[in-house]
């Protein structure tokens, strides 16, 4: 993962609550089995007309939001399925930051695991950002993970909080496994004294591959 400390970019406002991961990447694309290339599928059914052309009524297709790298969203963003394809698509589309009042749990973790910063702001502040983004063409925000603040060039400054672990991982570009492998000894010691036994077959089962 690339380290992340600050980002400035154009904002696209997606004015819907409860946006679910089924919408972000519809199931037909999750058959692909890769981690990359989902940017063009992001919000597929909203973004494209039945003939495959961009739907001019969908906000992502407004010329003024072309090249946006900050996604402004509403509450409970990323709800539903655990598919990480949603986070891969957000990243692959070019978004580095999402700003919303709240997120669903699994999507929240998935996004951070892919180096996408999710900023949580109070609903009134998100409202204000929506107003500004819709009013000003080419509206830009700067997001600083060092100082934990969001600013625009018109005196707006919103501080935000994020837990230290996730912040550090983003700043250093570390993934989970990297930081845990060092703890192999502790994990092994835990396994040695853990009360829950490994599964033992006591009756007939029909397995294709089986651990001997």
């Amino acid at each position: 993962m690339k380290p992340f400390s600050e980002h400035a970019g154009t904002v696209v406002p997606l004015d819907r609550i409860d946006v679910d991961t089924d919408q972000m990447v519809p199931k037909q694309f999750i058959l692909r089995g890769t981690r990359d290339g989902y940017g063009r599928d992001l919000f597929h059914d909203w973004r494209y007309l039945p003939n495959g052309d961009p739907d001019p009524d969908f906000v992502f297709n407004f010329p003024r939001y072309k090249g946006a790298s900050i996604l402004l969203a509403r509450s409970n963003f990323g709800c539903g399925s655990s598919r990480e394809h949603a986070a891969w698509a957000v990243r692959d589309y070019g978004f580095q930051v999402v700003i919303a009042p709240s997120y669903a749990d699994i999507f929240y973790t998935n996004a951070f695991n892919n180096g996408v910063l999710l900023v949580t702001l109070p609903a009134e502040q998100v409202d204000e950002l929506f107003r500004r983004a819709e009013k000003t063409e080419g509206y830009e925000l700067s997001v600083d993970l060092e100082t934990l603040s969001i600013t625009d060039n018109r005196q707006l400054r919103f501080p935000f909080t994020i837990d230290e672990y996730r912040r550090n991982r983003l700043l250093k570009g570390l993934d989970d496994i990297g930081s845990m492998i060092e703890h192999d000894k502790e994990i092994a010691a835990f396994e040695g004294s853990h009360a829950i036994p490994a599964p033992i077959v006591t009756g007939p089962v029909d397995m294709k591959v089986s651990t001997s």
Partner: protein, 473 residues
């Protein structure tokens, strides 16, 4: 020590405190994987030259995109074939147990865990699928994870985890005739709101929950994610132990008695406290039908589609307007006046033997409406299918006009051939009615199996309580 909840006990016994990470490190007892969200994780491991740490704690199954029609002769091509090949190869290379699509123990990943007794009380369980919460019915802490986390668990058998808030959903009273766990859970989501459980682990308790079978508890737990909860769980009790006894991964004889003693020790203690509690009276719950594009958009069978103007909150009002537009419904339309095109009985929420019995009881000796384009029964597991056939349920379904299929996720997620076409309306026993969930442009109404069967006969929604049924649930 003050009284503790099931969640707190499982948590305390699984945190590796010696690791001293900034975030608690949780040990994972059982890891389930399937073809749709695991290939990238194995590829990541391979690229980093890492091994699967505990193949013996990992179980793989093919379910999300398997064909359900004449599976043994089905020709699978393209990306789907690649997913199955990848899972097969990855399991062979790493020694992970695999129940492939032709195994007698194949089934939806969250069903086969409890069904084989792999899932047991007190365990931590993860799977790259949001409905992993289903396993919580056995008194386990089970939650869905993303593919990066799947990779982390494969490599380390652990996950950095933040503690969740706890919520007790207490359902008291006795449900009335025709009311199922599905109706109870839709009532919970209606009350709590579509995102009301976010950040929480829900424990279901109270008289009505204690009276539920394990399969019914699985329906509740499965749908916990539908109000945003991290997990759903039910304290283990005699029902749990009785269910487990004799299953192929459960200890026998004296070992079973010893296991029960330990399992029992996980149950929430009287007086344990939760961050929040909500209460519901089962006696007041009516059969439910969703009318919108999330499971919180739900009404009683004898009610009507709501008017968006009745919503005070502007965002909510707009989302209801959008939902009605997508669903092609008008405010004020009575639920019983909504015609349907297809019926789907299946999924990890409602595709088990008790569900099939309930639907068959409604259908026995009747025919589905001529106006239907399709009616599907997809058992949640191959064992469920075999059991149903042994009981003759398949004949009831087929004689009524249903297609009797092989087990899998099928039209719950439409990753195989079972797709709801654009503009069509489906009465479905699955758990998600999002836009396009069952097929692009398809319109999903979530109901219980008995209600789905009743709708199949009428060609529209009807109150199953008004029907003459021998031995209805």
């Amino acid at each position: 020590m003050s009284p503790r909840t099931l969640y707190e006990k499982i948590w305390d016994r699984h945190v590796i405190s010696a690791a001293r990470l900034p975030v608690p490190l949780l040990y994972i007892d059982r890891h389930f994987i399937h073809e749709a969200t695991s290939p990238q994780a194995f590829a990541g491991l391979k690229a980093a030259d890492r091994k699967v740490r505990r193949p013996d704690l990992t179980f793989a199954v093919m379910d999300h995109s398997v064909p359900t029609k004449d599976r043994r002769n089905a020709v699978i091509t393209g990306n789907r074939a690649k997913l199955f090949d990848a899972l097969d190869r990855n399991c062979r290379e790493t020694g992970v147990r695999l129940f492939d699509m032709n195994s007698k123990n194949q089934g939806i990943v969250h069903i086969i865990g409890p069904e084989m007794g792999i899932t047991q009380p007190g365990q931590t369980i993860v799977c790259g699928d949001s409905h992993t919460s289903t396993h919580g019915a056995m008194g386990a802490l089970a939650f869905g994870i993303g593919t990066s986390e799947v990779e982390t668990v494969l490599a380390t058998q652990c996950l950095p985890q933040y503690t969740s808030k706890t919520m007790l959903v207490r359902i008291e009273g006795k449900r009335t005739r025709g009311i199922t766990a599905k109706d109870l859970m839709l009532a919970v989501i209606e009350k709590l709101g579509f995102s009301g459980g976010t950040g929480h682990v829900i424990e279901y308790g109270g008289e009505a929950v204690r009276a539920l079978s394990i399969e019914e508890r699985m329906t509740l737990c499965s749908m916990s994610i539908e109000c945003g909860a991290r997990a759903g769980m039910v304290s283990p009790d005699e029902t749990t132990f009785r269910y487990l006894e004799g299953r192929p991964f459960v200890p026998r004889g004296n070992d079973f008695e010893a296991a029960v003693k330990i399992w029992r020790s996980y149950a929430s203690e009287p007086g344990a406290t939760y961050d929040s509690t909500i209460e519901l009276n089962a006696a007041e719950v009516a059969p439910k039908v969703t009318w919108g594009t999330n499971p919180g958009m739900v009404a009683n069978i004898n009610a009507a589609v709501p008017d968006p103007s009745s919503y005070a909150n502007e965002e909510e009002r707009e989302s209801v307007i959008r939902a009605l537009d997508y669903m092609d419904l008008n405010p004020g339309t009575r639920i019983v006046d909504i015609p349907i095109d297809r019926v789907f009985i299946g999924s990890c929420s409602n595709g088990q033997i008790e569900d099939l019995r309930a639907a068959a009881a409604v259908l026995a000796g009747k025919k589905i409406s001529k106006s239907l384009k399709q009616a599907l029964v997809v058992p949640a597991s191959t064992q469920t299918k075999l059991q149903a056939e042994a009981e003759g349920l398949d004949r009831i379904f087929v004689e009524a006009g249903f297609e009797w299929r092989d087990s899998g996720c099928s039209m719950c997620i439409a990753m195989n051939e079972d797709v709801l076409p654009p503009g069509e309306r489906c009465a479905s026993t699955s758990n998600r009615n999002f836009e396009g969930r069952q097929g692009k442009g398809g319109r999903t109404h979530l109901v219980s199996p008995a209600m789905a069967a009743a709708a199949a006969i009428a060609g529209k929604f009807v109150d199953v309580r008004d029907m003459q049924i021998a031995g209805v649930v």
